[in-house]
């Protein structure tokens, strides 16, 4: 596995409030890393910082061999960020929005793989309707499709299962796991769904108060899955000191 993301000593503050305080994170191709932690731990800020859309007060981010600060365009070739539902443009249709992203990524049309994902998520029947008329779940699906458009090697997903119906959530989990299993795609998933993290992630990182408090590797997660006495929920509670 080759290095895809190397973040060192990341520091971000909102005013006087430190949100990330010396976070180190590395991720190789074919890894599925789940980022867990209580509300306000800095999960979303970490994802936004890696995506280059939140200002960094200190530290260094390297994406697929490119420094995000000095070569943002080359570095961002490596990432796909699932868009938050409220950030989607209400005045465009889903297909127009996908087309806009495809054009910005230098693709002539919406890739067939993205449309296939739309079929999997059952979004195709409403793709030509304005986003203004979409439900939360439909917007979430479109945001996921935008993040995965062009199959970038590193997917950044912030609570992507929010608002998804169980069938679509299962379809997306299966799709994500198969993408990662191919070995050329990695996922960094911020989530409160500990079952998803425990079952599907290759690594889990616990973020608390802007620092990495604890991490679990593949072997530890496999041990948890095999032994019903252990679970990520209990391990997280122990690490949090509650």
């Amino acid at each position: 596995m080759t290095g895809l993301l190397r973040a060192t000593n990341l520091r971000v503050a909102y005013g006087d409030v430190p949100v990330l305080d010396g976070v180190d994170l590395t991720l190789a191709r074919g890894e599925f890393v789940a980022l867990i932690g209580p509300n306000g731990a800095g999960k979303t800020t970490l994802l936004r910082t890696i995506a280059g859309i939140a200002p960094l007060d200190g530290g260094h981010i390297d994406l697929d061999g490119h420094d995000l600060a000095s070569a943002p365009r080359s570095a961002k070739q490596a990432i796909g960020l699932a868009i938050d539902p409220p950030g989607l443009p209400a005045l465009l249709t889903g297909r127009e929005c996908l087309s806009l992203f495809a054009g910005a990524r230098g693709l002539p049309t919406i890739p067939a793989t993205t449309l296939a994902l739309g079929e999997t998520l059952s979004l195709m029947p409403v793709l030509d309707r304005r986003i203004d008329s979409y439900s939360l779940g439909m917007r979430q699906k479109l945001g996921i499709m935008l993040g995965l458009l062009g199959e970038p090697p590193l997917l950044l997903l912030d609570e992507p299962f929010n608002g998804l119906d169980p069938r679509s959530a299962l379809a997306f989990k299966t799709h994500l796991v198969s993408l990662v299993a191919r070995g050329d795609t990695s996922a960094l998933l911020a989530t409160h769904s500990l079952d998803v993290a425990e079952r599907h992630a290759t690594h889990v990182v616990l973020l608390m108060d802007g620092r990495v408090r604890r991490s679990w590797d593949t072997a530890e997660l496999a041990a948890m899955r095999e032994n019903p006495q252990h679970s990520l929920e209990k391990a997280m509670a122990g690490a949090c000191g509650t």
Binding site: E96, C97, S99, G103, A104
Partner: protein, 325 residues
Amino acid sequence: MTAPWHPAIRADWLVLRRTGPMAWVRVLGPPVLLLIGCIALACGDLYAGYAWCLAAAALLALGGACGIAHQRLLDALERWRFGWCGALPIARPAAASTLLLSATAALVASLAFTTTLLFGIAAPAPQGGDLPYAVAAIDGALVAGVAVAAIRVLRRGALARVHHMDGIREPLLALPWLNDPRLPHLLDWQRRAALVRWRRGGSFMAVGIVLAAVPIGAPMVQVSALVLLVLSWSWLTVVMRASADAFISAVRLLAAVPWNVRSARMAALRYPLVATPCALVFVVVGAALLRHGVVVLLWIVCTGAASAWPLVRLARATRFADPRA
């Protein structure tokens, strides 16, 4: 027991107080400029005895007050009904009474400002005896304008028509090649944003201004020419502002995407560049009706002045992205 006032009014007030001086400028700027414009126009009668300026000032006050009040009341109602407080158990009469109270407070402040300023400026004027008529005409127009806006906003279904964007038409003559392939549908986004903004009251100010500029007894041809000139100016100004806003939203949306900043800027300029010659067609017709070529030059200067800030915003939207990377 439900509250008689909408609680979001307090949150709006706190947000306004904490946002800084620019927020106050944005809130107070347009109405203050409108009132000063009305007073300045009315002084044409009081000082120079032109005999038509007062009517024009009253019409400007009517159109301007209606436009500004309609846009702001509609924005507030939409924010309260569909924003963070949309799910709170607030009775509709509470929202309506809060809107009416806010509109009344703003109206009273406007009346006080206009009356004080007009008496202060025009009391020593040669036609100072007409001052009570001027005050009554402008204040009456302000009251009527705000009342019309409030009635339009509080009508059942008024918000639904604006909020749901289904009414946005596609162009009669679709020209897909107008869209820049480097940012497809950005032009559609800008066009629809301009249409929404135009329907929200962008045209009311223009109507007020054009009526204000028409002297009593002016020939119909000249009135038509003025209407064409002012409406095309107003429309293009709305297009410029909407284009800048849509592009800034697109930059935020595509922040994590490795796009070419220079190409993006060119794509963002495409709709304003298409809209400008369309507006110029009406300007040329208007100038021909007026038989004054200099009008075109004046129109270009006015449009350039109104478009400068949106174009600066459009250019600055990508300033944090590095085009060399």
